[in-house]
């Protein structure tokens, strides 16, 4: 079975192609084609046509196409969706605007809270009430629901979301509201909060229902068009879509629950890092994806991806489990400027247009990429992806005024810009690592994305990380992530406030298992599923909970003692203290199910020939121009090794090996930097 990973970026659409079982990781083919905004499907089709033309795939090959898309994400961030309506429990009309009350920068006298995704006039109060224990306090008046839905549609609503209090405990009123609307008004798009994510917290759940409706409008047309093109051109291809939790789902499921795609872009890169880390025996990784305007970092600990329950997309929260990613506002396009007496870099960015001055596209302000060029890390004689040739004279011209202002040479100023950018990244990365309770010295840095291979090693040196991996497929790493992602589904039941006997726990887990298995079946998976059961638990009276993971056997038996033991142990591991004598409360029960898909395995590279000699070039390190070797990555055989400082050129990127690091080509062709 051929597997193709496709990841769409603003400039390029990346392809990673795996020819099937016989070939391993080292045979994965990387390809980039230009993206075609706003109609991104054209770029995908162009790439597939190119693969057909090159004979890498045949039209009737059975294949899995795994697609990462930002179509839905962009719609949410740009708020470009259609008008929607929300039905809420009476008394809570302002649930979206009040949100969680606090503002992001409280010291700012002119701070504003982001406006809600729909205005108050599109929120309708319904006289119904379910209490925390699930009992019905006030029955639903379906006539009132229908009247509200009619009013919403009259005001232009394209879909109606429903979020009633405690629907996670008793969904009867939400279900009855949907039935009443459909009975009275026909095929209206109704999204119920308990179906999207049945977790306690009305603001977050209402937001989830609305985001799902919003994203569906954006994504369903795109996927339908792509599927119909595939049916005609590649009839034996199956389309899967990546999820924010690092897994994948069938295209039909993505249309039903597109909310799970909203943070899938960066998540795929972390999944790729996890897979490569497993092959390399690297269980603790800091991942770094550096682009033009921002840098995404994430952690892999003991081989596992870190999960977050407070993700954000645009101005909105996501409380379902997603791969934990920290976005730092520093990238290759970050602009250097003077703030009073000091040199600052960012947070403003030259972005893709006009881009850094050295791109020759009209950029007039000095950026980090201009500094790379002046330090010799980027080079005039190595064009960027897409064939763009960089111009040193333009970089010099924009850095010169800054250099004059701070009294340094142009080259020294360039190095200072990079040092300040590194310090910015460090100021965000160190607390992120600390929050997860890891020390930098325990970690290996895995870098990918446009500027990552230049800046990653510099950051590693500054932060105290001793080992860096630059993947062979760094330039299409998220595409590679699509090749190694499995079917993955998360399901939750909130049980906060219930008194649970073992039988209750067992039956709830059985329900979760049935739901998860039916999901997996619907993705047409033949794989034997993997189950990851957990309970969210806290000490009675506390307000923060910990996920206690238990075995399938313990889940099936509703083993309360096993849950308690796992909780105390996890609390001890995370926080350094536990209190086995204290009463505990179970807040929610969870299950993550996984269905494995075929993926490229760890096949070593054949032994290579002699490395080609490096080309002597000049590059700046530690305050001085130095003669260093520029090596051609493609010519370097496995186990080649050389001490830094040096540069390694790939087709479209340069790896900077700072002084004090030794570079080695690993078993699978990846470049590994180790502090000497």
């Amino acid at each position: 079975m051929i597997r193709i990973g496709i990841d769409i970026g603003g400039t390029f659409t990346d392809f990673a192609v795996w020819a099937g079982e016989a070939a391993g990781y080292t045979a994965v083919h990387a390809m980039k084609v230009p993206s075609t905004p706003p109609d991104f499907a054209a770029g995908v089709q162009n790439g597939l046509e190119k693969l057909l033309a090159e004979g890498r795939i045949a039209a009737d090959d059975p294949m899995l196409i795994v697609h990462g898309t930002t179509v839905s994400t962009n719609a949410v961030i740009e708020r470009s969706g259609p008008p929607l309506a929300l039905l809420v429990t009476a008394g809570f009309r302002d649930v979206l605007d009040v949100a969680r009350l606090r503002v992001d920068r409280p010291v700012d006298l002119f701070a504003r809270r982001a406006p809600p995704i729909i205005p108050r006039r599109m929120v309708f109060e319904i006289g119904e009430r379910i209490l925390a224990d699930g009992s019905i306090d006030r029955a639903l008046d379906t006539a009132e629901v229908v009247a509200a839905a009619q009013a919403a549609i009259a005001q232009g609503a394209a879909a109606i979301a429903v979020c009633f209090l405690h629907a996670y405990r008793n969904p009867a009123h939400e279900a009855a509201a949907a039935a009443a609307i459909r009975d009275a008004l026909g095929a209206v798009d109704v999204v119920l909060s308990h179906e999207v994510w049945p977790q306690q917290s009305e603001y977050e759940r209402a937001s989830a229902a609305l985001l799902n409706a919003y994203a569906r409008r954006a994504l369903s047309g795109y996927l339908a068009a792509l599927e119909s093109w595939l049916a005609h051109r590649l009839p034996n291809a199956r389309l899967l879509v990546t999820k924010s939790n690092g897994g994948v789902m069938a295209a039909a499921e993505a249309t039903r629950m597109p909310i799970h795609t909203l943070l899938s872009g960066p998540a795929a890169g972390v999944t790729a890092a996890q897979a490569l880390g497993a092959m390399l025996g690297e269980a603790n990784l800091l991942t770094m994806d550096m682009g033009g305007t921002s840098t995404d970092i994430s952690l892999i600990r003991d081989g596992g991806i870190m999960v977050s329950h407070d993700g954000r997309v645009g101005d909105f929260p996501l409380m379902m489990p997603v791969t934990a990613i920290e976005a730092i506002g520093a990238g290759g396009g970050s602009i250097a400027w003077r703030d009073g007496p000091v040199l600052k870099v960012g947070p403003r960015s030259a972005g893709a247009r006009p881009g850094p001055a050295c791109y020759g596209k009209g950029g007039t302000q000095p950026t980090v990429s201009d500094a790379y060029l002046l330090c010799g890390y980027l080079r005039e004689d190595i064009p960027l992806a897409g064939g763009l040739t960089l111009r040193r004279d333009l970089a010099e011209a924009v850095v010169a005024p800054l250099a004059a202002a701070i009294g340094r040479t142009v080259e020294a100023t360039a190095e200072a810009i990079i040092a300040v950018a590194t310090a910015n990244m460090l100021a965000n990365a160190l607390p992120f690592i600390a929050r997860l309770g890891v020390a930098p010295a325990e970690l290996t840095l895995m870098i990918f994305g446009g500027a990552g291979a230049i800046h990653g090693p510099l950051l590693a040196a500054e932060i105290g990380i001793g080992r860096v991996v630059v993947p062979r497929l760094a330039s299409v790493f998220c595409g590679y992530g699509c090749l190694v992602s499995d079917l993955r589904y998360d399901v939750i039941r909130t049980v906060h406030g219930r008194t649970l006997a073992a039988a209750d726990v067992a039956s709830t887990f059985a329900e979760l298992r049935a739901e998860a298995e039916s999901w997996l079946t619907a993705q047409a998976s033949a794989a034997i599923p993997g189950y990851d059961y957990a309970a969210d638990v806290r000490y009675a009276g506390q307000s923060f909970d910990v996920a206690a993971r238990i075995t399938p056997e313990a889940a099936a038996a509703g083993d309360l003692a096993a849950i308690a033991a796992a909780f105390h142990a996890e609390h001890e591991r995370l926080y350094g203290h536990a209190h086995p004598g204290q009463a505990i409360e179970i807040i929610a029960l969870r299950l993550r199910i996984e269905g494995a898909l075929p993926r490229p395995g760890a096949v070593a590279l054949p032994p290579g020939t002699e490395a080609a000699p490096p080309r002597p070039v000049r590059a700046r390190f530690d305050g001085a121009e130095r003669d260093v070797g520029l090596h051609d990555w493609a010519s370097l055989p496995p186990f080649w090794s050389a001490p830094g400082p040096l540069l390694v050129a790939q087709e479209t990127a340069t790896v900077v090996v700072p002084p004090g690091f030794t570079a080695t080509i690993g078993t699978f062709g990846d470049l590994i930097l180790e502090r000497s």
Binding site: A90, R112, L165, E202, E204, V342, L430, P431, Y575
Partner: protein
């Protein structure tokens, strides 16, 4: 100042502060620390100014505090490596500690035998003993009701625990183990700061690191002065009032702000009322204290957003409150509910800033710091369980280029609300409503922020509701430059029932089974002429159900027919001449009060009373006011 090293080290300092704060937070025990993040870990220079302060977690408003006063109580020359100072005494240490519930820790950071910095941490302790669980009752009137008090002393001497000190504390708290857990978490943060500071010294050289400390503080000062130079030099005065818990008493707050050439500012609270027999006092000591200049600090961070967050910011500011006033209280004043008084000082300073900044900044916000807590007996265990229900604040004032924040006021805009579903799962309460209250936002070119309305029904046997920080049930938040004044708050028990009664500013209330409590916060004042507001914005509020057509006409001069603005009728209505409004619109209650007690009289009375022995002041002031009320 090295342009590159300063920026690199500023980032380094920020990183280690955030890192230490994260470590402390991760391992802390109590809900106060875990949920409300009422804690912090940071690092100060030898002179006591914070140069490494976290902004992503913990309390962010203490950055302009100074730790040196506490060090000097012990004597810097007596400290050795491994020492940790502990105090929760507001009456010593030059006002680092501002009420007894805050336990402060200080660890000297040594490098090559010399102190190079102080690592600092504090927690809001969930209980330090005293009259009530949690140690805070708004009507406490002596510090003794607010728990145990420990002057600065060594909790650790050269790494050795001072068990006598800790045992004394532990024997006086309801939950000593949990507090000890929090303190251990904070001490882990202190140890990390010590380690990181030593690593920086090893890497960059101790003199270079200390120069960078001086440089980043100097940069903070420089940016602050740049911002303050936007103010017009001169002297500005403004007063505001707190309300008593019983009867119709008031507390007079007076701020005088002097803006000097060169970007410096002095604030003087002379003329404010003396210490009150309520838990509304606080201390500010002899140095410039952030509680007496919060809006000025916020102004700096707003006008110059790249100002490094450190103690250099307060260098161009001087503050003074005479000892014995409510904002520089003497032993044995009670302080548990001080935040509402800090907010009223905020409002008075904002009144001064509005005069000093051309065009003004913002109208006054709701000005209360309401925190609703519910306590009930668990039907199974018989144990009393206390839960925080919601912060209950009300909107901020309209700003010069934006409407007021809805439902929350600027000085407490860091507070998070809890989901109703969580509150209902943890208490016997049902939230019938938690929403904005339409029709109460003060009109303005930029309207004031909306009031919040909450309705709580008790479904349990009996539940005790405590609310601290309520205020402005009579004296409305001021409007600015023609904006209307905000609405006052109100509290009603059992609305719509026969037993309905208006119960005003509550602190503790027993709710019987079936009782319903309805509370509405104040709303923020408006900014600028409401008749100049874009009619489309007025229409949007009408369509959103937040304003009636009648109020749109009366308050904004906007005529709405159905779903559209009648532009011709609006223009005609707006063309009618209206009297020029005063700069501040203060509302009828305050006008009536000031007819009886003009500001000058209130100031003179406060100063006269302050000359008396402390124990006599509240009685004499009450007597003077009674006499004044009796004379026509």
């Amino acid at each position: 100042m090295d342009p590159v090293r300063t920026e690199i080290m500023r980032n380094r300092f920020a990183a280690i502060a955030e890192e230490a704060s994260n470590v402390a937070y991760r391992t802390a025990y109590t809900t106060f620390v875990k949920q409300t993040q009422d804690y912090q870990v940071a690092m100060a220079s030898v002179a006591g100014e914070f140069f490494a302060y976290p902004m992503k977690s913990g309390v962010t408003s203490s950055v302009c505090q100074n730790v040196r006063g506490v060090v000097d109580e012990i004597g810097i020359e007596t400290l050795v490596p491994g020492d940790i100072i502990l105090t929760n005494d507001p009456f010593s240490g030059d006002a680092l500690c501002t009420h007894t519930m805050d336990i402060h820790l200080l660890r000297p950071v040594f490098r090559d035998g010399a102190i190079v910095a102080f690592a600092w941490a504090f927690i809001h302790a969930s209980d330090i003993g005293g009259a009530v669980p949690g140690s805070i009752a708004p009507t406490s009137y002596e510090v003794f009701q607010e728990g145990v008090r420990i002057r600065p002393g060594l909790l650790y001497r050269a790494g050795e625990l001072n068990t006598a000190m800790w045992n004394f504390f532990a024997d006086n708290s309801r939950i000593p183990d949990l507090i000890w857990g929090d303190l251990q978490a904070m001490m882990a943060g202190l140890a990390l700061l010590d380690q990181r500071m030593n690593e920086l010294c090893a890497r960059y050289g101790t003199p270079e690191v200390l120069e960078s400390v001086a440089d980043v503080l100097a940069l903070g000062e420089l940016k602050a002065r740049e911002a303050l130079r936007q103010l017009t030099p001169g002297q500005y005065r403004f007063s505001d009032y707190l309300e008593d818990y019983r009867g119709d008493g008031h507390v007079f707050i007076h701020a005088c702000m002097t803006v000097e050439e060169g970007g410096s500012v002095a604030l003087d609270f002379t003329g404010s009322d003396p210490v009150v027999r309520l838990a509304m006092n606080f201390v500010t000591g002899k140095r410039a204290h952030p509680f007496l200049c919060m809006p000025v600090i916020n102004f700096i961070q707003t006008i110059e957003p790249t100002t490094p967050v450190n103690g250099g910011i307060i260098r161009p500011i001087r503050t003074h409150a005479p000892i014995g006033t409510l904002m520089n209280a003497e032993f044995p004043a009670a302080m548990g509910n001080r935040w509402v008084a800090v907010m009223r000082c905020y409002d008075a300073i904002l009144g001064c800033l509005n005069q000093a900044y051309p065009g003004g900044i913002a109208a006054c916000g709701a000005g209360q710091a309401g925190i609703i807590a519910a306590s009930g007996v668990d039907g199974r265990t018989g144990r009393r369980h206390v839960s925080v229900v919601e912060p209950f604040i009300g909107g901020s004032g309209g700003r010069r280029d934006a409407d007021g924040l809805d439902g929350i006021d600027q000085p407490v805009a860091f507070l998070r609300s809890a989901p109703a579903e969580v509150v209902e799962s943890e208490t016997s309460l049902v939230l019938r409503r938690f929403s904005y209250e339409p029709g109460r936002a003060a009109p303005g070119l930029h309207r004031g922020g909306h009031s919040m309305r909450i309705e709580l029904e008790n479904r349990g046997l009996s539940t005790t509701i405590t609310v601290r920080g309520l205020d402005r049930f009579r004296f409305q938040p001021f409007g600015l430059n023609g904006g209307a004044s905000g609405s006052a708050g109100s509290t009603v028990l059992n609305p719509g029932a026969q037993s309905e009664r208006n119960i005003g500013k509550i602190d503790v209330l027993e709710l019987a089974h079936g009782d319903t409590l309805l509370m509405i916060t104040p709303s923020g004042g408006g900014f600028g002429d409401p008749f100049a507001r874009d009619p489309a914005l007025v229409l949007a509020e009408v369509l959103d159900g937040l304003l009636t057509t009648e109020a749109a006409r009366a308050g904004y001069g906007v005529v709405i027919n159905g779903k559209t603005v009648d532009m011709a009728a609006t223009a005609a209505l707006r063309a009618v001449p209206r009297p020029t409004p005063p700069q501040f619109t203060i509302g009828p209650a305050r006008q009536a009060l000031e007819r009886r007690w003009p500001e000058a009289t209130s100031r003179a009375m406060a100063e006269a009373v302050l000359a008396l022995p402390a124990g006599l002041r509240p009685y004499r002031l009450a007597e003077l006011r009674r006499e004044g009320a009796a004379t026509p």
